[in-house]
């Protein structure tokens, strides 16, 4: 009977296509929007992903990595003296404007790292040499920066090219891979001294963060709490600082609400369209199902038929919708224009929503058919 149910479903091509389309569209909306949100949220803490340090020490008022309240230069040593800290180095982070050879400007995120240890340097250098950062007036730029500057200059830039930051020469000695920044601009890495002396207008304090690591065998969370207690600064583990950044954006911007609305709309669209289409499919087949009842098909079997029909539509539509969402995400990541991150919770949640929609649609149909009198086929 279940095979018969599927044959009845596939045989009505128009209805079948409509059912699939409804679920596919709903799945796409429900999956694409959270993926966009997750991607956007991953951009918010991209500096943490670009720099990579077990512990981040910041001003007590700092809640997210894109907000810097300068520390005192002595804070680095204060962190070093905390028991259990293996090392501590300074880090500069700030937005800067690079002036290109053709006179145009490009906003960049400038990262100044410790020149002795290179802690905080990008993990993947695709061209050039990290050690060359010790040379005067040198920078390493990320591949997004190469793309941007190449587009502006009209030619491919690379190692050896020069531009200006704060009227100082910046010579590219390396190209790296780095995550996309929330601010939209490329990352440019240089030494801490150069960043705070040459590439930034003078200020009383310029230390953005102190990066630290626990001694081997020590729990980073424990050391972070100890640093906070002893220095009065706020020390985060890498994970805590990432989440703190995400939650700050959730609480202080309208992004999650807007995206959440898209998810709700997708769910409602899916429920209404699929529910209504499936119900009308059942209504059109009422006489046929009534005849089956007359011929000796039990209500339970008819329920099984309707469930298999709705679940089949659900799984096919889910697969197509997730495929479209994955393709959309792939294109977004490839072009670099939009963020997208499909964590496993998204397909799991969407599948649960789709199963709910299909169960509801089947339930409405079952309610209708259960009331059909088998004798009605004689009228």
């Amino acid at each position: 009977m279940l095979r018969l149910a599927l044959r009845m479903l596939f045989g009505d091509r128009a209805k079948y296509a409509m059912l699939i389309s409804g679920i596919t569209f709903a799945t796409f909306l429900m999956a694409n929007s959270p993926a966009l949100l997750c991607g956007l949220m991953s951009w918010t803490y991209s500096t943490i992903r670009a720099v990579r340090a077990p512990i981040w020490v910041a001003d007590p008022k700092v809640e997210q990595v894109n907000d810097t309240k300068p520390l005192r230069d002595t804070d680095t040593n204060r962190v070093r003296t905390v028991d259990g800290v293996a090392w501590a180095v300074p880090l500069y982070q700030g937005l800067t404007q690079a002036r290109l050879l053709n006179g145009s400007f490009q906003v960049m995120t400038l990262i100044g790292i410790d020149p002795d240890t290179f802690i905080g340097a990008p993990s993947k250098i695709t061209e050039g040499n990290l050690q060359d950062l010790r040379l005067p007036n040198t920078v390493i730029i990320d591949d997004f920066g190469v793309e941007r500057l190449s587009a502006v200059l009209g030619r491919k830039i690379g190692v050896g090219d020069v531009f200006e930051i704060n009227d100082h020469e910046a010579r590219i000695v390396g190209i790296c891979s780095a995550p996309r920044s929330f601010t939209g601009g490329p990352y440019v890495f240089t030494t801490y001294d150069r960043a705070t002396t040459d590439y930034t207008p003078p200020q009383r304090r310029l230390l953005s963060f102190v990066l630290a690591a626990p001694e081997p065998g020590q729990d980073p969370a424990v050391i972070a709490r100890r640093i906070s207690a002893e220095t009065g600064l706020h020390a985060y583990t890498e994970s805590d600082f990432s989440w703190s950044t995400i939650w700050w954006f959730v609480a202080n911007t309208g992004i999650p609400i807007n995206v959440g609305m898209l998810v709700v709309i997708g769910f409602l669209v899916g429920t209404v369209v699929s529910g209504q289409t499936f119900y009308s499919f059942v209504l059109e087949n009422t006489r046929n199902l009534g005849a089956l009842k007359a011929m000796g098909t039990s209500n339970l079997r008819i329920c099984g038929m309707l469930l298999i029909q709705s679940m089949t539509v659900g799984f096919i539509g889910f697969g197509l919708g997730m495929g479209l969402a994955a393709l959309n995400g792939y294109i977004a990541i490839k072009t670099g224009k939009l963020p997208s991150l499909m964590v496993w919770q998204i397909p799991a949640g969407v599948l649960a929503a789709v199963l709910f929609i299909c169960s509801l649609a089947a339930f409405l149909g079952i309610l209708r058919i259960a009331r059909v009198d088998p004798a009605s086929v004689f009228r």
Binding site: M1, R3, L4, R7, M8, L9, F10, G11, D12, N285, R287, N288, A291, L292, K293, A294, M295, G296, T297, S298, R301, D373, P374, A375, V377, F378, R379
Partner: protein
């Protein structure tokens, strides 16, 4: 599903109803469809139930088929006391013992002819391959070999009714219920369909009940029960009597 010997009918009888009453609606809109119908049908015969529109023919047919329950009366079909059976048992009874031929054919339009014919066997738990093999045999018997994979909408009315006949017989039911089998067909096609139904009825283990108000097919009846106002007021027991009674039709 086997009948209890305690309910056995005389060997020539397929079914018997006694004092069957059925009404629809409540209060002022209550309509009494059957007011005590006493009816018998014999094995190996075509028994027709005739009468004007609204006299209760279809209601009686539905009760005999087990698709409707009576409010009062006794209904013994093939040794099964339908008036004592609950819904699940009635469903199983229909699946095992009844074949249906509907007025509007009621073929499922989105599946093929052979799949339509296989339905009663599949309801009874047969595998699809086995059911379709039997269905192909029955389609050949009703003259539709070669049309197995077509959709019902591609067949004429007469061909669709022959598919319905094959579907009604594929699981070898002892009781065939025909509700206005020729009303949607022209005279010639209707006659052809009734020829098939009459041949089916010749099986001594089988009983065919036909409800009709089409006088063109009355001569196919071996027995005719005439109904009016919810009761059977006359039973004609042979073709000659039937022909004489309806000579002017």
């Amino acid at each position: 599903m086997k009948p209890d010997p305690i309910n056995a009918l005389p060997s020539h009888l397929a079914l018997r109803t006694e004092g069957v009453q059925k009404s629809y609606g409540v209060g002022q809109s209550r309509t009494v469809a059957l007011k005590g119908a006493d009816f018998e049908a014999h094995l190996g015969e075509v028994t027709m139930i005739v009468g004007p529109s609204g006299c209760g023919k279809t209601t009686l047919l539905s009760i005999i088929a087990g698709t409707l329950t009576a409010e009062q009366g006794r209904i013994n079909v093939l040794g099964f006391p339908l008036h004592e059976m609950k819904h699940p048992k009635l469903t199983r009874f229909r699946a095992n013992h009844v074949g249906f031929i509907f007025q509007q054919f009621n073929l499922i339009p989105t599946i093929s002819v052979i799949e339509n014919v296989s339905v009663p066997l599949i309801i009874n738990g047969a595998k699809t391959k086995v059911a379709e093999a039997r269905a192909a045999e029955w389609l050949a018997k009703v003259g539709l070999a070669g049309r197995e994979r077509e959709r019902p909408m591609n067949l004429s009315g007469g061909q669709q009714q022959r598919v319905a006949i094959a579907r009604a017989l594929i699981h070898n039911p002892p009781l065939i219920i025909c509700d206005e089998p020729t009303s949607a067909l022209d005279r010639v096609t209707g006659q052809q369909v009734m020829e098939v139904i009459r041949n089916v009825a010749r099986d001594p283990e089988r009983c065919v009940i036909v409800v009709s108000h089409d006088p063109r097919i009355y001569h196919y009846a071996d027995r005719m029960a005439e109904m009016d106002d919810g009761r059977i007021f006359r039973v004609l027991e042979n073709p000659a009597a039937i022909a004489a009674a309806h000579a002017n039709n």
